[in-house]
Amino acid sequence: MNRKWMVWIVAPVLLTVLYGCPKKKPQTPPQDLEVDTTTVTPPAPTTTTDVPATTTPTPVEDETEDPLLSADMQVVNDELRRRGFSPDVYFEYDEDSLSDETRERLARNADLLKSSAQLTVTIEGHADERGTNEYNLALGDRRANAVRDYLTSLGVDGNRLRTLSYGEERPVCTNVDESCWSQNRRAHMVITGRANVG
């Protein structure tokens, strides 16, 4: 593929990088620039310049817009996750005790929640399909409360945490095997709103 036309794009970018660009000007070529490769034969370049990836300017973040302050809870959940929040922790069959790994994840979650004290969390308790729907609803409640109790023991204000058991009614995976069941035995933490706190 003939890439000679690229020089018309690369060259201005290089010039911009080397000599700076005027403020408030868009950094992309003007929209009305026409590159007519059929009528113009550019001279063959004599040297090749590798353009490092960092040359592509990253968008400047608006410093006043913290995604955790977004009104869109999806944005808030995504941002917390990006910062290391674990939305799910998992349990053994018919158990509501927290493993060491789960405690580590919840400790990270607790730190994140304490540093954004206005967020409220719903902790959903889920169970796999084995056993009765009724007992699994109670089991999901205990799982959600085990997570809630651990988070409050780490200093998260319990008033920000709400529990809700779905038992086996909302599986994330529906195959009939352990690989699926283990995904369904979980507590799922989701940011649902913002309290009028600090």
Binding site: N133, E134, Y135, D141, R142, R162, L164
Partner: protein
């Protein structure tokens, strides 16, 4: 356990006696058809084991056509099926009676009926009166040759099945002396609309109707003692709450909706109160409240899950499930919460107790050898018997109002469906097929009476 061994020995002895008794007292000809396997004697079937030989020649139908003819065929089929389903009869239908020469006048055909061992004959005449069907049913005693029952029913074509059920239950009550179940209903959950809603159906799986339209998850239906209401759990308002649906008006009333979890309601036998499971301080415990959620009172105080209460038919006790011994097991307590004691010791997971109408038996789900099965247990002797076997995750049993059958859920055909079996585990019929159907609860009295 020594006491277990004694029970087994006693049970064996009684079983042997039970097998001999019919021989000693039998007046039947020896060529009786093979009886079903006798149930564990500690779990006696009520109303006796002996089946009544009832001849039913073809119904006589006069002057009907079109819809009326269709309705008369349905009525005949339903009456026969109800009587077969009851388990009280050996029905001698047109096939069995074919060899006989019958005049149609029972009093002149007595010898013929006696020759095949009939004890009674059921005749029925069907005719149309405008847009209504009239059924005249009669019973004749073969020994005396006398007509012993005559009943007339009349109703529009759409209530044909109800006419048939009403007559069949009358026949059962008259000949056997126990109430029939043909007019009873089963409440259940179904996901056929895409979400779990509460439904009802006739005892034979016909006439399925949706009760809730919350478009959420609604579950754990439980009949009121009078059959006019169903208490249930629903997520439609966020955290699961307890509601009561009035079937006649369709109105739904909240009972208890505060807190993070309220589930598995069961009515007191007088209909005035509801026991249920509720999350408090991070654990699920059993509470009782009146119908509008007032006078909320806690009955259990364990550190483990306590859930799924079932109020005994006489009202004095509540069976429930508790994880306090490490695994879920069935427990019993007084209705005030005192005297809590464990009933189930076999199996590693027992839940979902349902009482027999007489209050001497419970049935529940039990995991045996890694599979969920239906178990029936005598609450006094604690003798128990596993009624199902094999794969299929058999769950959620509920007693019929005559105590002779159990409806339950199985996955044996792939999806969850509701089945009905006799109390000895035999004679199993599937009665649902659309979507997944779960959590059956059999009404206590014939509804809409």
């Amino acid at each position: 356990m020594r006491s277990r061994a004694i029970y087994l020995a006693a049970a064996s002895l009684l079983l042997a006696l039970g097998l001999m008794l019919p021989r000693i007292f039998a007046q039947e000809p020896p060529a009786t058809p093979p009886q079903q396997q006798p149930p564990d004697v500690t779990i006696e079937l009520r109303g006796g084991q002996r089946q009544f030989r009832l001849a039913i020649p073809p119904f006589r139908v006069a002057g009907v056509s079109g819809d009326a003819a269709q309705t008369t065929r349905e009525i005949e089929q339903v009456v026969r099926q109800d009587l077969v389903n009851s388990g009280h009869f050996i029905i001698q239908g047109p096939e069995e009676l074919r060899a006989l020469t019958l005049s149609g006048d029972v009093q002149r055909d007595l010898e013929a009926y006696r020759s095949v061992g009939s004890e009674a004959v059921l005749t029925a005449d069907l005719r149309a009166e405008g847009d209504r069907i009239v059924l005249e049913g009669r019973l004749f005693d073969i020994a005396s040759g006398q007509a012993i029952l005559a009943k007339r029913y009349r109703g529009t074509f759409p209530v044909g099945r109800r006419i048939a059920h009403t007559f069949a239950d009358e026949v059962i009550r008259f000949l056997i002396g126990v109430p029939g179940i043909s007019l009873s209903s089963i409440a259940f959950t179904s996901d056929r609309t895409g979400q779990k809603e509460i439904f009802t159906m006739d005892y034979d799986g016909q006439n399925q109707r949706r009760v809730t339209g919350h478009r959420s998850t609604s579950m754990s239906p439980s009949w009121s003692p009078g059959g006019g209401e169903i208490a249930y759990t629903s997520f439609f308002n966020g955290p699961p709450g307890i509601y009561i649906a009035d079937l006649a008006s369709g109105r739904k009333q909240p009972v208890v909706t505060s807190g993070s979890l309220n589930t598995t309601p069961t009515f007191s036998p007088d209909g005035g109160r509801v026991a249920f499971a509720r999350s408090v301080d991070g654990n699920v415990e059993i509470f009782v409240a009146d119908r509008k959620g007032g006078n909320l009172r806690r009955l259990t105080h364990s550190n483990a899950i306590d859930t799924n209460p079932a109020w005994s038919p006489k009202g004095g006790e509540i069976a429930f499930t508790s994880g306090r011994a490490g695994n879920p097991h069935i427990y019993l307590m007084d209705a005030e919460g005192a005297n809590q004691r464990r009933l189930s010791f076999d199996g590693t997971y027992n839940d979902g107790a349902s009482w027999s109408p007489s209050g001497d038996l419970i049935t529940f789900t039990s995991r045996r050898d890694g599979r969920f099965q239906i178990v029936v247990m005598n609450v006094v002797t604690l003798a128990s018997r596993v009624l199902t076997s094999g794969a299929g995750e058999n769950e959620s049993p509920t007693f019929s109002p005559d105590g002779r059958k159990i409806a339950y859920v199985s996955r044996r055909s792939g999806r969850k469906q509701i089945y009905v079996m006799d109390l000895d585990g035999g004679n199993t019929r599937q009665i649902t097929s659309e979507g997944n159907n779960d959590m059956p609860d059999w009404s206590r009295l014939a509804s809409e009476q």
